[in-house]
Amino acid sequence: MNFKLAWRNIWRNKKRTWITASSIGFAVFFACVMQSMQLGSYERMIDNSVRFLTGHLGVHQLDYWDEKILDNSFPEETLTELNLGHESIIMGVPRITSFALASYGDKTKGALITGVDLSLEAQFSYLENKLREGVYHTDNGALIGAGLSEYLKLGVGDTLVLLSQGYHGVNAVGKYPVAGVLKFPVPDLDQSAVYLPLGIAQTFFGAEGMITSYSVLLDDPDATEQVQSQLIGDSDVYEAMTWKEMMPDLVQGIELDYYGGLVMVYVLYGVIGFGIFGTFLMMTKERTYEFGILNSIGMKKSRIQRMVAIEILLLSFLGVALGLIAASPIVVYFWANPILLTGETAAAMEKFGYEPIMPFALDPQVFYDQGISILLIALFLGVYPMLAIQQLKIIKALKE
């Protein structure tokens, strides 16, 4: 009976019901869209950084991360000792990285030399997509950043001279034809990046068969810690670091932004909360006389409270459902078709090395979290009608 009464009561004043449900629904909709956008941008940021820089997990020789020198590299053949059988591992790429002087004509500049397996790298970091000129696949050529190319005034087919200190202090000198020019959005990288085929780089550094890192990509980033614990077993020679350990600045930046977004969501909750409270307040005041009548004919206050609680629950569910129904197609659409940014915003994003798009996250947790949060707020605000009924005085109510 309580349910029947509650159900009919909420449809007694259809306009008010729809206004209340809509305000709850709007909160859910806005919070879902906002959080999906926020999480989507983090996902994209993490994916970009992980693919290009560290992998979800990076395997190094134990001292490498503290002192990134070639002497702390490790033999590529020992990769067989790693436990790479975890189902979350998509792929891994070996890299050897160090610095060198890059020279052409009378110009010289510091460069970041990275030796990679070009085929694997094309799948891992989409390096091939950065190619603006020349060819990507080369046996003995170099791929250089467009900024470096411009500075040294050398192009495809010219010969790049590299000079550095190699493995265990050997002299590293080499001449490499420029096979392609890559365009990186991050200026620092664009002005210093030199990619060599892995074997060529190892030879240049006098570090045949050696690599400085092995980056692992996972299909489920949440499994990072689990894979980390299994990847190197009990080795006291290698360490496996997570992307969070290797890129603490990124983690902090995301956290800072996340909490900023959370403040926005709380402000939204507050605004909507006042709206919902106003409706509940009005509903309670309007029906004080009715509650008095029900109590006088023998309906206990606890039963009236149950009836009103069901009404609030139904209203809240209706609102949350409306919000989720409205938000779902929007989120799905923009997840599949991220918003393309243009103008200064796009330029600013590119400067920081990110694609100028606004991606959305399609994470059921977003809908669940926001739905539950708004539902809890509505239920919390529903305490007011409960208290008002508890304190109801029949005679006073009948005079309302």
């Binding site: 009464l5 004919i297 023998g298 206990k300 606890s302």
Partner: protein
Amino acid sequence: MSVIEAKSVSKIYNPDTIPVHAINDVSLTIEEGEFTAIVGPSGCGKTTLLNMIGGLDSVSEGHISVSGVNIADLNEAALTDFRLKNIGFVFQSYNLIPVLTAKENVEFVMLLQQSHQSAMDERADELLTKMGIKEVSQRRPAELSGGQQQRVAVARALASKPKFILADEPTANLDSHSTESLLDIMAKMNEEEKATFIFSTHDQRVIDKARRIITLEDGRIVSDEKK
């Protein structure tokens, strides 16, 4: 057998500031099956007395017993339960539950008493038939005339066979035809169901039908006549 006994009952508003004696030392006894009208000018305390008898308002002095139970001894929840089981209410403005049909309104009090569905159906149908509104049993209050609504209210009050029915100005919002018809029905219920009715009213037609007339003035009983 008396169903209501009020002894030296007073109701004093604002006792600590400017005391107003709405009811002043009233004693009365209502016997089972009575058809009693409490009459008097506006502000004489009719509604206050009815509210105290019905356990809706507290007494300031004296005590009221219903079937031997001093209602002042009951806590709020027990009093609500007591009203549910012993007292039927008919209000001036009908006060039916707007979202329930006429029949559901009649069944409502029985439902609160957790009566069996078949018993509720049977009793509601019986009462609606006696009230002459069986054909509108599936309509909601907004679809009924004032007279029909008040008949539903009387049926609701009678549904659980309470010890007595308190009717506060039940005909105040009705036209003369509806009033006559409602009074006939209540008189018939008084006869057939041995239901005890206590009205507050200044409607002469109600006073004419009543078999006992208690007149209040300034919160005191000034006359108590039985026909």
